[in-house]
């Protein structure tokens, strides 16, 4: 059965992830799977013993010691996770989600999300995880990995959420952007919402044609506005998003190879970082 996969951890994004998941649940009429992954402490690198001396029974002793360190930590993490999931469930219920299934798993965050997303229509995650909580204006390292590896659309929650009212579609004519456009036109998620198509680039014939085609494809079902203005994509789009209350940004994601991103940076990453509204990334 299909569902919405909402991923929470102890970061302050948990509440807004629940809000967004509940919104998606109401719109798509799908149940929510609320996932929390227990992150275990890495006992091996956590020990500070460079003595290099090994003696009788070292193998069983070391294994026992590593197990003890991880066991104590894991118990704590599990308790914390339970509390978090219970709070999330409450929150989702209050926000009107249809059917909630909490899920508590061990493992790597990215691996677990990829494993669970098979049944998911949409994956909802926070912009930053607990391990990056204080790095302002960064996006969590795991988000890019999830988005790159995932085959599902990823809804990235910002810290504060108002229920999405207007879709801002960042459009650049790339295949990924075309898929985002298609989703905007067809998904029940955006049914009846006004759409604002934004394109960054000089106002010339080529860009006009592209944006007109996009507007035409969205059809009659939506109230449509289109903006074409020159400038860097992240600036143009965050300006539009900034003056639209209740915006949700919809865009194609990571069209380029990881290597290029390493050198010149990624528009997707920059965008998710700068806008302060939920972003739906479509691969």
């Amino acid at each position: 059965m299909q569902n919405i996969l909402a991923c929470v951890d102890t970061s302050s994004y948990a509440a807004s992830v629940c809000d967004l998941a509940a919104w998606a649940s109401r719109k798509l009429e799908l149940p929510v799977e609320l996932l929390h992954v227990v992150q275990r402490k890495d006992a091996v690198s956590g020990r500070h013993d460079l003595s290099g001396a090994i003696g009788l029974g070292v193998k069983s002793q070391l294994l026992e010691e590593l197990t003890q360190i991880e066991e104590a930590d894991a118990r704590l993490q599990i308790e914390r996770g339970r509390v978090l999931l219970a709070a999330g469930e409450e929150h989702l219920k209050a926000a009107g989600a249809i059917g909630i299934k909490p899920l508590h798993r061990h493992g790597g965050i990215v691996e677990t999300i990829l494993e669970r997303e098979i049944d998911a229509r949409i994956v909802v995650i926070g912009k930053r995880g607990a391990s990056h909580e204080f790095a302002q204006d960064h996006i969590g390292s795991k988000i890019e990995r999830v988005v790159r590896a995932s085959s599902r659309p990823i809804l990235v929650a910002s810290r504060a959420i108002v229920t999405p009212q207007v879709v801002v579609l960042a459009y650049d004519g790339s295949p990924a952007a075309d898929r985002a456009l298609e989703r905007c036109a067809n998904s029940p998620l955006f049914l009846g919402m006004p759409v604002h198509v934004v394109m960054a680039g000089p106002d010339d014939q080529r860009h006009r044609t592209l944006i007109d085609k996009a507007v035409a494809q969205l059809g009659e079902a939506h109230e449509i506005r289109a903006t074409l203005s020159s400038g860097r994509p992240e600036e143009v789009i965050s300006a539009v998003v900034g003056e639209t209350p209740g915006a949700i940004l919809l865009m194609g994601a990571y069209g380029h190879l990881p290597l290029r991103t390493l050198i010149v940076g990624s528009t997707t990453t920059a965008m998710v970082r700068t806008v302060r509204v939920p972003v739906l990334l479509v691969r």
């Binding site: 890495d42 091996v44 690198s45 956590g46 020990r47 500070h48 013993d49 460079l50 003595s51 290099g52 001396a53 090994i54 003696g55 009788l56 029974g57 070292v58 193998k59 069983s60 070391l62 294994l63 590593l66 991880e70 990215v110 990995r145 790159r148 590896a149 990881p258 390493l262």
Partner: protein, 494 residues
């Protein structure tokens, strides 16, 4: 192609801990590499280059991040006769062939064979390895000045007591440094590393081994390469399992096999001996906080740096200090628990363990010991399963029909019990053999059923076989003769 995130996980998840652990391991690699070069009868250079080259290559090609591979005891003891009889160039050629065989083993997924190596065999292997490492120190401990024993004892004392003072410095290193200072400034005459043969003074050079490339050479090196490959893979698979347990992460065993092969293949061309994963050093690595490929790479690279830059100093290290380190590795490798476990484990398990140890120590060949252990565990298993066999029978009221109800496993070991279950002397019209709870595993079992049915028939008794389960029925249909028309003739031809 590995993606960026797995590269980050395998290499840079905790660089600080990994680099420190790598340095500690590099120091623990020196004594072993020198010690086993001496055992194998080659220059220390051969073992030290091997440790550098294998560690660095396996960091990239291996399937178990955080495991340390280098020149090892298990391989060194195998090659003694080869070096003695044919010279060191044949060793290089054998190492290259060893690598090729290991890559083939990896491609054939021979790592799956590890399923058949029982826990007792593994324990026996590990204990035998510890004993071999210890015995390899004997030449340094016999016919030497009494001061040598004092130095070894002092070394061991430093290794085990220094960590109580601080755990920030590797205590084996402290032992080596302190003993070197004492012997150099105290003018004490003991064997030093420099006395053992040539040390490396430069980077290793890539060259073909100086042997004739013909069938004769292949005949000489092939048996050695095969044993080296088998022993190397065994120790690597066992060590990988230990590191898997420590870090609670899985490893790619087939990749590890191929990686070991590539490392040995290249190492042979560098004028160095073969090697494999090391239990003791891998434990030291994990204990010091190393868990990624980075620590393995640092261990290899730092080892070479130490040797090339500091070789005049390394040459003055007294052998007793290295003996102390090797004794530590030997003690750390030994499974102390297995001695306590002998008393309350099943006697068969203990016998398998002890047999593995005895055969290895007696033959100097880890592969032979493991083979013997695996065969023994197989036999004990067969004899245990054989006992899962029972017969019940009852005579019908008119005394003319007997029903035998057989339950259990019927295979080569239990076939005799199965045959003995029937009383052929009894005068009957009809025999029913009910096999509802029995399972036929092999053609020996089916053959015994044949014989029984036909013997009954020759006594003039009609036989009915009922209740066979599906797989057993398939076996019987394919291999049995009693249900075929010319049964007697076919049975005679068996």
């Amino acid at each position: 192609m590995p993606d960026l995130s797995s590269i980050r996980r395998d290499w840079f998840s905790n660089p600080r801990a990994d680099i420190l652990a790598g340095i500690v391991v590099a120091l623990a690699l020196i004594p072993e590499a020198i010690g086993f070069s001496v055992i194998a009868g080659v220059d220390p250079r051969v073992g030290l280059y091997a440790s550098f080259s294998i560690a660095v290559i396996i960091a990239f090609t291996g399937g178990r991040p955080g495991m340390i591979s280098a020149a090892t005891a298990s391989v060194a003891v195998v090659i003694i006769p080869l070096v003695r009889d044919h010279g060191v160039d044949y060793l290089f050629a054998a190492t290259i062939l060893m690598g090729v065989l290991q890559v083939i083993a990896g491609l054939l997924r021979l790592d799956l064979l590890m399923q058949y190596v029982s826990r007792s065999v593994v324990t026996g292997f590990v204990n035998a390895l510890a004993i071999l490492i210890f015995m390899a120190q004997m030449p340094q401990l016999t016919h030497v000045a009494p001061i040598t024993y004092a130095l070894v004892a002092a070394g061991l004392a430093i290794i085990y007591l220094f960590p109580r003072l601080t755990k920030a410095v590797p205590s084996p290193l402290v032992a080596i440094v302190v003993l070197t200072i004492i012997t150099v400034y105290g003018g004490i005459q003991v064997n030093t590393v420099g006395d053992m043969g040539k040390l490396p003074t430069s980077l290793p050079v890539f060259a073909l081994p100086n042997v004739p490339f013909n069938l004769e050479t292949l005949k000489i090196i092939f048996p050695y390469s095969l044993t080296m490959a088998a022993v190397g893979l065994l120790e690597s698979m066992l060590t990988a399992q230990i590191v898997d347990d420590f870090t609670d992460t899985p490893s790619d065993k087939a990749r590890e096999m191929r990686g070991q092969g590539i490392a040995n293949f290249v190492t042979g061309f560098l004028g160095a001996m073969g090697g494999c994963a090391m239990i003791g050093q891998s434990v030291i690595n994990v204990k010091s906080g190393g868990s990624t490929r980075l620590s393995t790479l640092v261990a290899g690279a730092f080892l070479l740096f130490l040797l090339v830059v500091l070789s005049p100093l390394v040459a003055r290290i007294p052998m007793p200090s290295l003996v102390a380190v090797m004794i530590m590795v030997s003690i750390g490798t030994f499974s102390w628990r297995s001695i306590k476990d002998v008393r309350h484990h099943p006697w068969q398990s203990s016998l398998v363990m002890v047999a593995t140890v005895v055969i290895v120590v007696w033959s100097d060949n880890l592969a032979a010991g493991v083979m013997a252990g695996v065969v023994l565990s197989g036999l004990f298993f067969a004899s245990k399963v054989k006992r899962m066999f029972a017969v019940a029978s009852h005579l019908s009221d008119d005394g003319r029909t007997r029903t035998y109800r057989i339950s259990g496993e019927i295979f080569f070991a239990s076939a005799e019990c199965f045959a003995d279950a029937f009383d052929f002397k009894e005068v009957l019209d009809r025999v029913v053999i009910d096999l509802g709870d029995a399972h036929f595993w092999d053609i020996t079992g089916v053959g015994t059923l044949d014989k029984a049915v036909i013997r009954f028939r020759r006594e003039g008794t009609a036989v009915e076989v009922i209740g066979l389960n599906e797989p057993s029925l398939a076996m019987v249909e394919r291999f049995a003769v009693h249900d075929k028309p010319d049964a007697e003739k076919r049975l005679a031809a068996h």
